[in-house]
Structure formats: structure tokens, C-alpha cells
């Protein structure tokens, strides 16, 4: 009984369709992980309100599709809204809190998250709106006997392009160099002439652009935009970046991909009777990994601990 259940599970998990869907979810979560990891690197701040940026972008898309604006205009509006909100957040909340304890900053972004969510609730109501202009991307194409939705392929390709562009920016430009320096040691970097405000603005803007990309991808898959849009994904990505390791952008990104992939796999392969316990399973895995490797799954060596 258990053995046959297990073979079914493994069979389902190896299915091409499940695999590609899981990679698609992993790609979305990895993009969010980059956004969160980038801001954490420069400011030592975990931005819980990141999901609400995506929610705001999704509402912008829904707003545009309500008025039958062309797709391009909708996407431009989405980017504009998310980038403006990111800038405002950085100026009003992040900058004054620079240097505060991680707990204070996290709770402050918690407050911002609830603020944005409750404004959306007041404005659009609990049922939200629908963004339909890109829904045709949801149609499946057949590849190797599996029905793959076009959006999954678009998501994976877009995520790959974004990551390549980001790596190029970080490694080939001087602002990228400044950001990496600030992430390693912000005090020394400032002494050497790295402008803290510029670096934090740029990192928040890049994170915002990634949030806008994720908003476009997610609204295609889930066209109903509610005030709690992307909340599940935010919880997943926060667990993912810590599981991967917050100290480096690469390990945080890998952690995000890893948790997205695993939960996509489990969601696709679990029999429906057990699938309601999927969150418990994922969270259980998170606890297990954290106990074994508290500094992160993809980090090298152990963090320094002051010892007597």
C-alpha cells in the first residue's frame, strides 16, 4: 500500500509536465528571491512588503485591462506603479531605519505590507479585479506528449534573461561594483566613496523592476487579483532565501528556486487527499534544513560565532 503509493508519487514527480511546472514556479520564486536578496545585501533589511509591490503591479494590470488598454500600456503602467512605490518605500521607510536592528526593520516592512494590503482592500474590495489582457498565454502547447502552458515557458525564459542581465550589471558596471562592495561591508565601502543612498536607491529600483516582471507573470497564471495576491509566494520566498542562505545573493536565489521547485513538485505529485497538507510538508522541510544548516543550504563554511 505504502510502497505502491510511493511509486505513484515518484512516477508523478518525474512526469515531464510536473517537472516543467515546478521549474516554472521555481523560476518565479527565484526572481522574487533576487529582489529580496539584493535589498537585504545592501541594507540588511528583509522586505516583507515585497509581495505587496507585486500585488500593486497586478492591480495596475487589472486596471488597464478593465479599460481595454493595449497590453504594452498595461505593462508600462505596472512597471511605473511598482517602481514609484519602491522608491517611496525606500525614501520614507527604509532610509530612516538604516542601521536599526533587523527586528525593527522587519516589523516596519510588515506594517508597510499591511498598509498596502488594506489600501487595496479599501479600494478594490475583497474580491478584487481580473486582469485578462494576457490570458491567451495560458493556452497549452504540446511538447513531448505533455501539455505545457505557454506562460510557463515564457516565465522560465524571462527569469533566465533577467538573471543574466543582473549578473552583467553587478559584474560589469561600476554601480554593480559599488553594490557588491556595500553588500560585503557597507561601512568600509562608504569610507571608500561608495554613495550609500545611491546604492540603496538602485538596488530598490532593480528589486522593483523584478517585482513588476513577477507581477506580469503571475497575473497571467492567476488572473484574479485580490488584496492577498502573491502573499503565499512571499511567504514561500522568505523561507527560501533564509534556507538558501542570506549572506550571498547567489545562495539566496538558489534557495528561492529550490523551495519553489520542491513545492511545485510536491503540489503536482501529491494525491489530492493529502495535498491540503502541502504547506505543512514544505514548512516541515524548511525547519529540517534550518536545523541541519542554519547558515543556509548553499553557503560555504559556517558563519563566525564569537566564542569564549
Amino acid at each position: 500500500m505504502i510502497a505502491s503509493g510511493l511509486t505513484d508519487f515518484v512516477g508523478d514527480a518525474l512526469d515531464l509536465q510536473v517537472q516543467i511546472d515546478a521549474i516554472g514556479l521555481g523560476a518565479v520564486i527565484a526572481l522574487m528571491a533576487v529582489g529580496i536578496g539584493l535589498v537585504f545585501g545592501v541594507m540588511r533589511l528583509v522586505n516583507f512588503a515585497y509581495g505587496q509591490l507585486i500585488m500593486a503591479g497586478a492591480f495596475a494590470l487589472a486596471y488597464a485591462s478593465d479599460r481595454d488598454w493595449p497590453v504594452g500600456v498595461g505593462i508600462a503602467l505596472c512597471f511605473a506603479v511598482v517602481l514609484l512605490l519602491s522608491l517611496a518605500m525606500e525614501r520614507v521607510v527604509f532610509r530612516p531605519l538604516r542601521g536599526q536592528s533587523a527586528a525593527v526593520m522587519l516589523i516596519a516592512t510588515f506594517a508597510v505590507a499591511f498598509l498596502l494590503q488594506s489600501i487595496a482592500l479599501l479600494w478594490f474590495g475583497p474580491l478584487g479585479k481580473t486582469a485578462t489582457s494576457l490570458v491567451r498565454l495560458n493556452r497549452p502547447v504540446e511538447i513531448g506528449g505533455a501539455d505545457i502552458r505557454k506562460i510557463t515557458i515564457v516565465t522560465i525564459v524571462t527569469a533566465a534573461i533577467c538573471l543574466v542581465l543582473l549578473v552583467a550589471l553587478l559584474n560589469r558596471t561600476s554601480i554593480g561594483l559599488h553594490m557588491r562592495a556595500a553588500a560585503i561591508d557597507s561601512q568600509t565601502a562608504r569610507l571608500l566613496g561608495v554613495r550609500a543612498n545611491l546604492v540603496s536607491t538602485v538596488s530598490v529600483l532593480i528589486a522593483g523592476a523584478l517585482a513588476a516582471v513577477v507581477a506580469v507573470m503571475l497575473t497571467v497564471q492567476f488572473p484574479t487579483v485580490t488584496p492577498t495576491f502573491a502573499l503565499q509566494e512571499t511567504i514561500l520566498v522568505l523561507a527560501g532565501v533564509v534556507v538558501g542562505g542570506m549572506t550571498r545573493l547567489l545562495s539566496a536565489t538558489l534557495g528561492g528556486f529550490f523551495i519553489g521547485y520542491v513545492s511545485g513538485l510536491l503540489g503536482g505529485a501529491l494525491p489530492s487527499a493529502q495535498s491540503q497538507y502541502l504547506p505543512s510538508l514544505v514548512f516541515g522541510l524548511v525547519i529540517l534544513v534550518l536545523l541541519i544548516r542554519p547558515d543556509g543550504l548553499f553557503t560555504r563554511g559556517r558563519g563566525l560565532v564569537e566564542r569564549v
Binding site: V46, V92, V93, P96, L97, Q100, S101, A102, A103, V104, L106, I107, A108, F110, A111, V112, F114, L115, S118, I119, L121, L122, I235, L238, A239, V242, V243, M246, Q276, Y277, P279, S280, F283, G284, V286, I287, L290, L291, P294, D295, E306, R307, V308
Partner: protein, 338 residues
């Protein structure tokens, strides 16, 4: 001198709670609900403070101890005759047992404490962000299981027909008990060791403090008190399990941080301040007459204002309204200086 300072440290929070209780007794029946809610918030926030404040480790998991308190007190105190209707799939021993008000509160506390102890056994080795996410994972698992496992409770349905025994007196006494426990703990040897470890882990280890053991004990006590607060809550208002999840985690942590994380006084002030603000705004949503003018906010705007105020307080006063210090009388301080 020392005892006087200790007396102020305890009497400040205690008097504030008693004052809230007395004012609550004077206002109308409908407004009394706000005061009971505020007093239960005090109990909850002080319970969280016992761990977070004394250890300096952020925990997102305390609402799961509150939730098992809600569950234990709720499922056990529904009258036996009503159980088949609301919770048809219940295990036999749960459906055939019904307990009264006080035993159910004690059981809620015990369940919260034992759960926290068991969870803490592995998790108290972690600190920093890893601890935050791991405790959050505990919250997610607790919510997920209580939500779908209908053999132990009503699942997503509301806990209906729980006797509503938490009145103003019980809420006041409950909040006082939690404050006394928190006070006794933080002045004990154990509490002082943990606070020392919060300030300087290496130095605390050097004088022989086992940080793991101190954190674990504080976590268990904190879970015990949170479970008790959960019991108080379910005896006050019928709720379903999703009412004790993310929103409550956010609002209680915000109360603690706004008041000042590192002091009992801060926990009590933060809980009463945010509850008070929330109540006034709730009244305004229903239309309130103030100085001859009617203020009528659209419904849903209160959480907008509350979260904006929270962000503002954190930006202007990151260490909270009380600065994270215990209450002390200014006169006493100058006397010492002389």
C-alpha cells in the same frame, strides 16, 4: 531602594490594567467589548514578551501557541450535546469530554506550554533570521493542521457554542496573572541569565549561562502564557482558526515593538495603545460624534490608519514608545543621583 524600584516596575503595568478594567466597567455594554479585547491583547503581548523581550530572539510562532490554546479550550468546553453538530468527525475522547471554564483555561495553558517546549527542543538552537523563519514555519504548520484535520476540531468552521465566560473580570484577572508571571520570571535568576545572554552572548557563556537551556525555558513559559491567553479569547468570542494566523501575528508583534520590545511596561503600553487606537477607529467606521461633528470613516480604513501609525512610530521612535525601559519614577532617579 531596590524593592521600591521593583514595586514601581510591577505596579505600573498592573495599575494600568486595573484602570482599563475599571473604565471598562463604567462604559456601556457595547463599548465593554473593546476593553475586554484590549485586556486579552495585554495578556497575549506580555506572553510573547516573556520570550522575545527577554531573549532578544524574534519569534513569529507564538500565535501558534495561542492557536492551540484556542483549540484546546474551545474543543473541550463545547457542551457534549452540541459537539456532533459542529464537529462531527471528532475523536471519541474529545467528543465525550467537556470541562468547565477554569479547567479549560488551565488545559489551554498546559497545551500551549507543552507544545512550545517540544517545538523549542530543536528550534532554540537557532537564532537570528533562521529562528524567525523556523518559528514562522511552526505557525504555518499549526494553522494548516488545525484547519484541515477535522478529527480534532471544527476545521475551517467557527468554534460555535463555546460558553462565553470571559467577561471583564475574567479578562482583567487573566491579564494580571500573565503580568505577575512575566514579572516574577524576569526578576528571577533564570530571567536575569537570559537577559544577560541577550545583551552579550559571549560574556554570558563565559559566566556559565547555558543560552540554549535558558531560551528553552523562557520559550515554554511564554507558550504556556500564550495558550492561556488563547483560552481567554475563545471564551470571549467565537472565531475560526484563520482568525488566529497572520493578521494576529502581525498585530501582536507590532504592539510589542511599538511599546518597546525589551520591557514589560513596553509590552503593556503597546498593547493598550494599539488596542485603544483600533477601538476608536472602529467606532469611527460606524460613525462617531466628536465635539458635535460626526466622523464617519469608510469601513476597512481602520487597518490602514493602524498600520500607518505603526510604521510612523517605528520610524520616529525605533525603540518603541517606552524606549524599551521599565517604568521608573523620575523623582527616585534624581534622589539616587544626589
Amino acid at each position: 531602594m531596590r524593592t521600591r524600584r521593583a514595586a514601581v516596575e510591577l505596579l505600573g503595568p498592573a495599575l494600568l490594567v486595573v484602570a482599563a478594567g475599571i473604565v471598562g466597567a463604567l462604559v456601556s455594554q457595547t463599548n465593554q467589548i473593546y476593553f475586554i479585547t484590549a485586556l486579552i491583547s495585554v495578556a497575549t503581548v506580555v506572553a510573547i514578551y516573556v520570550f522575545v523581550g527577554n531573549s532578544g530572539v524574534l519569534s513569529f510562532g507564538h500565535i501558534s501557541f495561542f492557536a492551540v490554546g484556542v483549540w484546546a479550550a474551545g474543543v473541550l468546553s463545547v457542551p457534549e450535546a452540541e459537539k456532533p453538530a459542529t464537529m462531527p468527525y471528532l475523536f471519541d475522547f474529545l467528543s465525550s469530554t467537556t470541562v468547565g471554564n477554569v479547567p479549560s483555561l488551565l488545559i489551554a495553558a498546559a497545551v500551549g506550554g507543552v507544545f512550545a517546549f517540544l517545538v523549542g527542543l530543536p528550534l532554540m538552537r537557532l537564532s537570528g533570521l533562521a529562528a524567525g523563519i523556523a518559528t514562522f514555519a511552526v505557525l504555518g504548520i499549526t494553522n494548516n493542521i488545525l484547519r484541515y484535520y477535522e478529527k480534532i476540531g471544527p476545521g475551517l468552521n467557527t468554534f460555535s457554542s463555546v460558553p462565553e465566560t470571559t467577561d471583564l473580570v475574567q479578562a482583567t484577572v487573566g491579564a494580571m496573572l500573565v503580568i505577575f508571571a512575566a514579572f516574577a520570571y524576569q526578576r528571577s535568576r533564570l530571567g536575569r541569565q537570559l537577559r544577560a545572554a541577550r545583551e552579550d552572548p559571549a560574556a554570558a557563556r563565559a559566566v556559565g549561562v547555558s543560552i540554549y537551556r535558558q531560551r528553552l525555558m523562557s520559550f515554554a513559559l511564554s507558550g504556556f502564557l500564550a495558550g492561556f491567553a488563547g483560552g481567554l479569547y475563545i471564551h470571549f468570542i467565537p472565531i475560526n482558526i484563520d482568525a488566529v494566523y497572520l493578521d494576529l501575528t502581525f498585530i501582536t508583534l507590532a504592539m510589542l515593538v511599538i511599546g518597546g520590545t525589551t520591557s514589560l511596561w513596553g509590552a503593556v503600553v503597546g498593547a493598550l495603545f494599539v488596542s485603544g487606537l483600533d477601538s476608536v477607529l472602529a467606532e469611527m467606521e460606524d460613525g462617531m460624534t466628536l465635539l458635535g461633528r460626526t466622523i464617519d470613516l469608510p469601513s476597512g480604513s481602520r487597518i490602514v490608519v493602524v498600520s500607518a501609525v505603526m510604521a510612523l512610530v517605528l520610524i520616529v521612535r525605533p525603540s518603541g514608545l517606552t524606549g524599551g525601559r521599565e517604568l521608573s519614577l523620575p523623582k527616585l532617579r534624581t534622589a539616587v543621583a544626589k
